[in-house]
């Protein structure tokens, strides 16, 4: 099975923000997925600098990407440049968020 950025992104979207209930890709937090041989580098951000869930989310990323077949090392680069903004949320996910009244 070929390791593709799409497959990695699909795996990354299973890591959800526990407050918003959306995956990392749908939230626009994943800036780049680079694959070099068996190694995967994920460049991503958080909704805010010093996000208290940062370490847990990084560990989740390593876990789900590392579980993909053929993946060797997983590197996570966290960046705040450019900073995340709500406009980065996937339009379909934004609809879910907008209708998400009391949940």
């Amino acid at each position: 099975m070929t390791l593709t950025p799409d497959a990695v992104r699909q795996a990354l979207d299973t890591v959800q923000d526990p407050e918003l209930g959306l995956g990392l890709v749908a939230l626009g937090l994943v800036y780049d997925v680079a694959i070099a041989g068996p190694d995967v580098t994920v460049t991503m951000t958080f909704t805010a600098e010093g996000c208290p869930l940062g370490d847990a989310i990084e560990a989740g990323v390593r876990r789900v990407v590392g579980a993909l077949p053929g993946v060797g090392q997983v590197r996570v680069h966290v960046t705040f440049s450019p900073p995340w903004c709500p406009e980065r949320i996937d339009p379909a996910a934004l609809q879910v968020l907008r209708g998400d009244a009391e949940s």
């Binding site: 070929t2 390791l3 593709t4 950025p5 299973t14 890591v15 959800q16 526990p18 407050e19 209930g21 800036y31 780049d32 997925v33 680079a34 694959i35 070099a36 041989g37 068996p38 580098t41 460049t43 909704t47 805010a48 600098e49 010093g50 996000c51 208290p52 869930l53 940062g54 370490d55 847990a56 989310i57 990084e58 560990a59 989740g60 990323v61 876990r63 789900v64 053929g70 996570v76 680069h77 966290v78 960046t79 705040f80 440049s81 450019p82 900073p83 903004c85 709500p86 406009e87 949320i89 934004l94 968020l97 907008r98 209708g99 998400d100 009244a101 009391e102 949940s103």
Partner: protein, 429 residues
């Protein structure tokens, strides 16, 4: 077999390790503060019920009112602030405590000091109040060494750091003024009581409490609301004007210069109005139109601050004791106590989620933070808080003692519901 590496964003700069795990204090340090603070919320809310009728008679300088006010200020507000800053300092300002052990000692000194102050004021025992004052001062000195002094050179977010620093400066001044008042209680010297109490209340509520919220809130509110695109210009002016206004008023009262008191009041009012405008912009630019119960409660607290602003200006113009009492209630209980309760309604479930599930991020079937909290419960508590404050403030301003007791009872009900909810969250597996 291997896909070509996608080109990374040109501007992307790895900045991992912004708040390394070793910079964070042990979780039990803020948690212990939050538990103590919640106990004070319960005590203050229960004691507010018998104290409310006297406030509606315009008697705001009573021992009961002073004792209850200190449950909310020293107990609920300052204890929460100490605890929250151990957690927020490293992530929001890159400032961490020198020593977690000193943090626990600070909490013990502050809790004991607050208890003595409250008991001493309630029973009119100046010696006990003096002992409590000394312990609270020792706790503040230790906190200043442990965290506060480090805010002078905040590596990140200096505006937040300086605003928090100004807030603690106001707390120090408020404590010194309390010391001066204490001297009159012990018969050491004579200073006009009303001026000292007015300065003390403004330094504590408008100076410490409101400046602290202006600083920390400028970080938390846009984060909670996902509204980072909102213009920030009103917020840049709000804190300096509020701080200047409080100082001018303090000098005016202590030097008996009426024009300074009035001018300071106007400057403070402009600062608060700008903060309310800033908060309105954060709410208007939010990505999520529907507000969850805790953010609705934040909005209610801001509305109480707006009501306090109007009542405060009316009290300043007329000097009517019932308006002064209504202002004190609105700013200490309606604004600060309700706002902190709203923040707890947000962070306690979040911290519970972190504690239980953060090691399992990425697994399927994990609950969301909102799933941990019975929404109806929070909604009822929030409604009782708002109804309680509205009833209480209106009853005090109008001079209706029975209605004031009813408003206080509604407020106490809201506090009881919240405390029960948090106890269930903490103990349920």
């Amino acid at each position: 077999m291997t896909a070509p590496a996608a080109r990374p964003l040109a501007t992307a700069l790895p900045v991992a390790g912004l708040a390394p795990a070793d910079a964070m204090p042990p979780f039990r340090l803020p948690a212990a503060h939050f538990a103590v603070a919640l106990a004070w919320l319960g005590i203050g809310s229960a004691c507010l019920v018998p104290a409310a009728p006297a406030l509606a008679r315009g008697a705001w300088l009573t021992t009961d009112a002073a004792a209850v006010a200190h449950c909310f200020t020293l107990g609920w507000l300052v204890t929460s602030a100490y605890g929250a800053l151990y957690q927020l300092g490293p992530v929001a300002m890159a400032v961490e405590a020198r020593s977690a052990r000193a943090g626990f000692v600070t909490l013990a000194l502050h809790a004991a000091g607050t208890a003595l102050v409250v008991l001493g004021l309630g029973g009119w025992l100046p010696g006990l109040v003096a002992a409590g004052w000394a312990l609270v001062a020792a706790a503040l000195a230790l906190w200043t060494w442990n965290v506060g002094a480090r805010l002078v050179a905040t590596p990140r977010a200096p505006r937040i750091g300086y605003t928090v620093l100004a807030a603690f400066g106001a707390l120090w001044l408020g404590l010194l003024v309390a010391g001066a008042r204490l001297g009159t209680m012990l018969g050491w010297w004579a200073v006009p009581r009303e001026a000292l109490v007015a300065v003390h209340v403004q330094l504590a509520a408008a100076g410490f409490g409101t400046l602290l919220v202006m600083g920390v809130g400028s970080r938390l509110l846009p984060m909670f609301l996902l509204s980072r695109t909102a213009p920030e210009w009103p917020g840049r002016w709000a804190a300096p004007l509020a701080a200047a206004g409080v100082l001018l008023q303090a000098v005016g009262w202590l030097a008996s210069i009426r024009a300074l008191v009035a001018g300071g009041g106007v400057v403070l009012a402009v600062g608060i109005a700008l903060f309310l405008l800033q908060a309105g912009l954060w709410f208007r630019h939010r990505a999520r139109p529907q507000l969850d119960p805790s953010l609705r409660q934040v909005a209610a607290a801001l509305a109480h601050l707006g009501a306090a602003l109007v009542t405060g200006l009316a009290a300043l113009a007329t000097g009517a004791p019932r308006l002064v009492a209504a202002y004190g209630l609105l700013v200490i209980v309606g604004w600060l106590a309700v706002l902190i309760a709203a923040i707890y309604a947000r962070i306690v479930p979040f911290l519970t989620w972190m504690h239980r599930y953060s090691r399992r991020v990425g697994e399927r079937g994990l609950p969301r933070v909102a799933d941990l909290v019975p929404v109806r419960w929070v909604r009822v508590a929030s409604a009782a808080w708002v109804a309680g404050i509205a009833t209480l403030a209106a009853a005090v301003a109008a001079g209706a003692p029975h209605l004031a007791a009813l408003g206080a009872a509604l407020f106490a009900l809201a506090s009881g519901l919240s405390l029960t909810l948090y106890a269930r969250l903490a103990t349920r597996r």
